[in-house]
């Protein structure tokens, strides 16, 4: 039912966002060009590829891995991925018998600098509430069934602390370069709802 085909339509929500831009620009709180640049950056430059770079380097460079274990914020920053909200990063390492899963039960804190913006399911109430109570069931919903004796540790992100899961390096990749390895690191494997891809 469209009764205004001759004229432009703006939803209430769109009008509210326009109003924010108008008021903030007039009062000098924002620079519209800077706002556009932020959108551009998040849509094109920041994304899971950054995290894949971190993981692939951790797999191929023991010194970097050790640094990541000790001070993930600095190690990740050294690759050029600075967290602009000033939060700390912690890397958690999957290994035999140990799997990590990241969630934010409070809202949806997420390591934007290395993973881009969170997927829709990460922000959904069912994922946020169930991941803590029934992580094995949540992983099964993602098609990931872990051995019974694998421990699952759930990490609850906060505004100050974000987690990056370092998945296990896939078998059969001994001779692979860091660049090749990075192609196996999918986004979900760095949240803990998947494993790294098989070569």
């Amino acid at each position: 039912m469209h009764d205004h085909s001759d004229h432009s339509h703006m939803t209430d929500t769109e009008a509210r966002v326009r109003a924010l831009e108008t008021v903030l620009t007039e009062k000098g709180y924002i620079d519209p060009a800077a706002v556009d640049a932020i959108i551009q950056t998040y849509e094109t430059e920041i994304g899971p590829r950054n995290g894949a770079h971190v993981v692939a380097k951790a797999w191929s460079d023991p010194a970097f891995r050790a640094w990541l274990e000790q001070d993930a914020t600095a190690a990740i920053h050294s690759l050029g991925y600075a967290s602009r909200q000033g939060e700390h990063m912690q890397a958690v390492f999957n290994g035999p018998g140990q799997h990590h899963l990241v969630v934010c039960t409070l809202c949806s804190c997420y390591p934007w600098s290395v993973l881009g913006l969170p997927p829709v399911w990460y922000k959904s109430p069912p994922f946020r509430s169930r991941a803590v109570i029934d992580p094995r069931g949540v992983l099964a919903d993602f098609g990931l069934t872990l051995p019974e004796d694998t421990a699952i540790t759930v990490h609850d992100s906060t505004a100050e602390m974000r987690y990056l899961v370092i998945p296990e390096r896939p078998e059969g990749t001994d001779s692979w370069s860091e660049e090749q390895l990075a192609t196996l690191v999918n986004r979900d494997s760095m949240i803990g709802t998947a494993l790294a891809d098989a070569p």
Binding site: D6, M10, T13, L20, G47
Partner: protein, 102 residues
Amino acid sequence: MTDPDHPFEEPWQAQAFALTVHLHDQGHFTWNEWAGALSTQIHSGTDRTYYGHWLSALEALIAAKGISTADQLAHTAQAWKQAAARTPHGQPITLSNDAKTP
């Protein structure tokens, strides 16, 4: 499942996101304050989409910080809707000066 390379479903979501990041960059609030504002909306019991909560949180934080008021934002949003309604399709929508902020 959304395309990870296109995190926003609609342009207004990207705008609301970027406004928040920009205001934080300029030091108008801490990220902790923002997380608190967003969490308040998410746990308010109001049924909205994630970015619907995000937008409400941004409006509330801007009012709480004295940057603007709920009235001013509502009035300006109304002016935008009126401007859209009188703008022929395909033309850029602009606010006339008298319809701007009170």
